[in-house]
Subunit: 287 residues, 3 copies
C-alpha cells in the first residue's frame, strides 16, 4: 500500500445516518479502497431490511467516505467459494442479488451518489438504486468481471440492457472497461453526471425535496414504473448461476490468479486503473 | 391575474386546422395559461376520433396559441371528483387515458410541438403523441403531481419508463420538478430540443414530408413499432386507479389546498414556477 | 456514373479476413456504392454460418472498403420479386432476417464500424450487430424505405424501438431521413460516434481486447442480455410480411419507378442524398 495516497485500512463499515426520520444516508467506509468484504453482506442486508420496513423513511442516499472509491468488487483474497455458495433466501436468490432486488422494490426512493470507482458490486448496488448521480470528474463505473473470465452476478445484464439498450449494455459488460461520468450519462448508466463541486448539493436538494412528499404516493409510483422496467427475479437468478459457473472454470481461475499477482484486490495501480489491467494480454491464460 | 403579462381569459378552445387534407394542426388556445378545463375533454375526444377515422389525414401536429404554455394540468378549481369519476369508455379506461391510447394507436403520425410549459395532462398528451420536439429555450416539461400527493393518471409511469429507462423515469415523476428542453432531450423525454427560432420550421418540414408518404405504410410501421413499445391498456388503467385513490387521501387534499392558497391553477408565480412551488416545504401537510 | 468520384464497378464481394483466429473482419467491397445485390446473400449467409460455428472466433468487425458507403439497400434494378420470395429457412424466416437473427444470437461479439452511408439493409445489418460505432463526419444511417412506400423488412421496427424508445424509432423510420453520426449517437442508433480519425483505432482496440477474453463468458453474457433486449423472431417475421405486402402495392411501385427515373440504385446524387430524394414531392404518386 502506498502510504501517502491511501488512508489506513480499518474495519469495514456501512454507516447509516438519519438526517431526518424521512431521509437516510448510507455511507460505505472501508478505506483504503472500499472493497467489498464478505462481512459487509449482513450489514448491507440489515440496512436494506430497515429501509424496507421503517414507516417513516422515504428516501435513502448511498455514498462513500473514501476518496477515490464509491464501492468496488468483492475482495478476491477472501474465500470466494464460501461467498458464492451462501444459502439462498426465501425468494430463492443468493443473498446479494436478493438484497438488491429488495432495495429496488422497497417503498423508498434510493439514490446512488457516485464519486470515485463503482465497479462490480459497487456498480450493481448503484444499478439497483432507483436513481444514480455521478461526479463528472471523479466517477468511474464499470463491470470489470468479463476481463477476469467471470460473468457478473448481481444483475447488470438484466438491468443495463433495460437502461441503455442492447448495444451499449453489451459494450459496457463485454468491454469490461472503465466508463467515466460523462460517458455514463450519455449511455444512461447514470441519470446525470454533474460537476463534482455541485454533486453533493444537487443530491441533497433532491433527497430533501422527496423526503417531504407523500410516502404512499411514492410507493404507488415506484410500483407502477417497475411493471415495465424492473427485471424479474428469475432473470437475475439466471445471471447469478452463470456467475457461479464461470467462477469454477479453470480459465477464470488462471486469469484471476494472474491479476492478483499484479495487485488486484489491493490498493494500488491495478485497482486505480482496473479497466487497463483486465485488458492487458499478459494477464490472460493461453486460451 | 397580472394584466400586462397574461392575455385575457376566454373560452377554452382546441382548434383544428387542416393545412392539407393529409396534414392537420391542433392548437390549444385557452389563455392565459392553457389550463385543462373539463369542457375541453369532449373537444379533445372529438378531434382524436376525427384523427382516427378520417381517410386522408396522415399527420397531425399539436401546438399552442398561448405564450409560455403548451398545455398544463387540470384546473384544480373545477370539480375534480366529477372529472375523476366520468364513465369509462368501451375499453374500460377513463375517457382521458382512453383518448390518449386512441391517439397513440391512430393510423396517423402525431407530433407534439412543445413551446412553454407542458405539465400534467400537457405532458401526458405529449407522451401519447408519436414524436415530441421541444423549444430549447422555452419548453418546460414535467409531471408535477407527486408534489401534490397525487399519482399522475394519464400514463407517465408506463410511458416514461419505456422512453428513458427506470432511473430517469423515477426521477422525473418522483422529483415532480421542471425539466427544461435540453435536459428533456438528454433524458429522451422529447425526440429533440431545437433552438426556438428553428422549431416551427423543423416540425412543419417533417410533417409535410410525412404527409406525402403512403398511409398504409405509415399504419404498418406504427403497428409494428408499437408491439414492443406501447404500454398495454391495463397498465395505464392501473395508474389511473392509483391516481383516483391518491386524490381521495386527506394528505393529498391538504397539499392541494395549501397550493391553491399560493396561487396554483391561476395565472401567476405558482404556475410559472410550479416545480419550485410543489417543492416548498410550507406547502406540505404535517406528515 | 461520374467517373472521377466513383471507383469502377466490380463483382460484389464480402471479404472475410482473420486478423487473429479470435478476431475476424468482414469487409463489404462492392464499388462504387456498396449496393446490396442478391448474389451477396449467400456470401453473407456463409460468413454468418462460419461466425456461428467456428470454435475460436470471439469477435467480428463489419466494415466497408468503399469510400462513402458502409452498405446500402437492395439493388432495385434487380428482380425484387425473386428476392422477396426466397424460401424461408428452418426458423420460418426469410433468409435475410434469418441471417440477421443468427448474427445477433451467435456466440461471438459483432461490431459494425460505420463510415459512409448505412441505409436499408446496411442499417439493418448494423442493427443486428451487438455494437455500432460511427464516424462523426462520415457516417449516415437511415431507413429510407417509407419514402418509397415500403415497410422496412429486416427488423428495424423491432430493433430501433428497443434501442431508442418509441418516439425516436418512429421518427427514424417514418421520416425516412438521413441520420448523421452525432444524432445517431444522441438517439442511441449507434453506441458512439467518434471523430473519423479515431474510429478505426477505437474499434480495433476494443475488438482486440475482447478477442482475449473468455468465449464461454462472452456467450453467457450475450445470452443473458438478450433475454430482455432481443426481439422474438415472430416480431421480425411480421415486419418482413408487411414489407412484402407493401412491395406489391401499386402506390409503392409508382414511387419506386419515379425514384429510379431520378437515379435511385445507381451511383450519383439520388444515392448520395437519398434522404432528400425520398422527401421530394415530385417523386410521389398522386395519392
Amino acid at each position: 500500500m502506498k502510504g501517502q495516497k491511501y488512508a489506513a485500512a480499518k474495519a469495514a463499515e456501512i454507516r447509516l445516518v438519519k438526517r431526518l426520520p424521512e431521509y437516510w444516508r448510507v455511507t460505505v467506509d472501508h478505506p483504503p479502497i472500499n472493497i467489498f468484504v464478505p462481512e459487509m453482506l449482513p450489514q448491507v442486508g440489515e440496512i436494506i431490511t430497515a429501509i424496507g420496513t421503517d414507516e417513516q423513511v422515504k428516501v435513502v442516499v448511498f455514498d462513500s467516505a473514501v476518496e477515490g472509491f464509491f464501492l468496488i468488487h468483492l475482495d478476491f483474497l477472501a474465500n470466494l467459494d464460501d461467498f458464492a455458495h451462501l444459502s439462498p433466501g426465501p425468494t430463492g436468490l443468493h443473498p446479494w442479488p436478493e438484497m438488491l432486488a429488495r432495495l429496488s422494490r422497497a417503498p423508498v426512493v434510493s439514490i446512488a451518489l457516485i464519486r470515485g470507482r463503482a465497479t462490480g458490486m459497487g456498480s450493481e448496488l448503484a444499478l439497483a438504486c432507483d436513481m444514480r448521480f455521478a461526479s463528472r470528474e471523479k466517477a468511474i463505473l464499470s463491470q470489470f468481471e468479463v476481463g477476469t473470465g467471470l460473468v457478473p452476478g448481481g444483475g447488470p445484464m438484466a438491468r443495463l440492457s433495460r437502461l441503455m439498450g442492447r448495444g451499449r449494455a453489451l459494450e459496457v459488460i463485454l468491454s469490461a472497461d472503465d466508463i467515466p461520468g460523462d460517458l455514463a450519462e450519455r449511455y444512461g448508466y447514470v441519470n446525470r453526471s454533474l460537476p463534482d463541486v455541485d454533486l453533493d448539493g444537487f443530491v441533497d436538494t433532491l433527497a430533501t425535496r422527496i423526503a417531504f412528499f407523500d410516502k404512499q404516493t411514492i410507493m404507488d409510483v415506484k410500483r407502477l414504473v417497475d411493471v415495465a422496467s424492473l427485471p424479474p427475479d428469475i432473470e437475475v437468478q439466471s445471471g447469478w448461476d452463470a456467475c457461479v459457473a464461470s467462477m469454477a472454470r479453470p480459465a477464470t481461475q488462471q486469469r484471476i490468479k494472474a491479476l492478483i499477482e499484479q495487485g488486484f484486490s489491493k490498493p494500488g495501480d491495478a485497482e486505480d486503473r482496473l479497466g487497463d489491467f483486465v485488458g492487458r494480454h499478459d494477464t490472460k491464460s493461453g486460451d
